[in-house]
């Protein structure tokens, strides 16, 4: 984490409100993105984003190492996302509802293709992946989101989820195996 962020965290811990505001601006997109990938709903992601920073404000005294602020924020966000997921389980969202979003944007796969047929194939593939990840238990899903989608290291994931690295590896292996089994031939193309 950059020195600027660490300095802001120290100031925030000393009671600086402007430092807190700057930290919110620095992390709001990441928290929203994490929550969205976990909950697949703009409304839920919005709720997680708001509540996460309120909790960060109230619990900043618990953070002993300012350089681990990002893990601290992610931990709060992931725990709240998991709680929300458990409460709202059963509400199947195969594809995000575009009308929920303040703009004509939707989740997509990174590969930009001009071929409409390929684009449709990507859409279907994405839908299948999302459906498969929805069926994972919350902690396995969060491990997969943090490591394979957000790109965090296993060490960082372990810190965020407050578990040993071996548990992260195990959860990741199980989650990937389940997805491989569900996606089947789609992955062999």
């Amino acid at each position: 984490m950059t020195d600027d962020i660490t300095q802001l965290v120290i100031l925030f811990q000393e009671g600086s409100r402007p430092a807190y505001t700057k930290l919110v601006k620095a992390f709001r997109r990441k928290v929203y993105a994490l929550a969205y990938k976990m909950l697949l709903s703009h409304i839920d992601a919005d709720e997680v984003a708001q509540e996460t920073f309120v909790r960060v404000y109230n619990r900043i005294g618990q953070l002993k190492s300012p350089q681990h602020f990002s893990s601290f924020v992610y931990r709060i966000a992931s725990n709240y996302s998991i709680d929300l997921l458990r409460k709202r389980r059963g509400r199947m969202v195969a594809m995000p509802n575009e009308s929920e979003l303040p703009g004509a944007v939707q989740m997509a796969l990174a590969s930009k293709v001009a071929d409409p047929a390929k684009e449709l194939e990507n859409k279907e593939l994405l839908s299948t992946i999302i459906k498969a990840t929805e069926e994972l238990p919350p902690r396995q899903r969060m491990t997969l989101v943090l490591h394979d989608i957000e790109g965090l290291s296993k060490e960082e994931v372990a810190r965020i989820m407050s578990c040993p690295e071996a548990t992260v590896r195990s959860n990741l292996h199980i989650a990937r195996s389940k997805l491989k089994a569900k996606l089947g031939k789609l992955l062999s193309r």
Binding site: Y32, Q50, F53, R59, G103, M107
Partner: protein, 178 residues
């Protein structure tokens, strides 16, 4: 590495956690095993797809608005805490309460275990004492037989009738002892 399948290593292989020797062994095995080759390809495709998932961008306006709403919510939370009477600090989180309960349970378990262990020791000590006492009783009872035998009066039956009263009393005594 043997020629057994290497599927259990494919995750670590892709995550860069294997050393050169292990990687080479997996590569060699995959070259001759369709099943493992297929698994590795599917895993690569899966992780590639997952890495390519993009979050929709709600726009800068949304995030500006989000920051304002976070600010309002934080202020509201501060005011809520400030309004609570002194002494009713409800900032103890669920984690704090659980930690306290766990510590309490650990202390109670420790006390119970130490009490139980000392109780068992006491029981064993009592048993040993009882055994010792019963052993010494047995020894003492054997020695007591001899005095009883010695005490047994010499027979006065052969004596004359003048002594018959004494004889009778001694006989009574013996019978009493028996």
């Amino acid at each position: 590495m043997t020629d057994l399948h290497t599927t259990h290593l494919h995750d670590d292989y892709l995550d860069g956690l294997l050393d050169n020797q292990q990687k080479a062994a997996v590569d060699n095995h995959i070259a001759g095993c369709d099943q493992c080759l297929s698994d590795m390809e599917r895993l690569k495709n899966l992780t590639g797809l997952l890495q390519g998932i993009q979050t929709p961008d709600p726009g800068n306006e949304y995030f500006r608005n989000l920051a304002d709403r976070i600010d309002s919510r934080t202020v509201a939370a501060e005011q809520r805490f400030a309004a609570e009477p002194v002494g009713t600090d409800r900032r103890h989180t669920y984690n704090d309460i659980m930690k306290t309960l766990i510590r309490l349970a650990a202390v109670i378990t420790l006390l119970f275990t130490s009490f139980y262990v000392s109780y068992i020791k006491q029981e064993k000590n009592d048993t040993r004492w009882a055994e010792k006492i019963s052993e010494s009783d047995l020894v003492n009872s054997k020695t007591m037989v001899l005095p009883g035998m010695l005490i047994e009066p010499e027979s006065d039956i052969s004596q004359t009738g003048e002594k018959s009263a004494d004889q009778d009393s001694q006989t009574v005594e013996i019978e009493t002892r028996k």
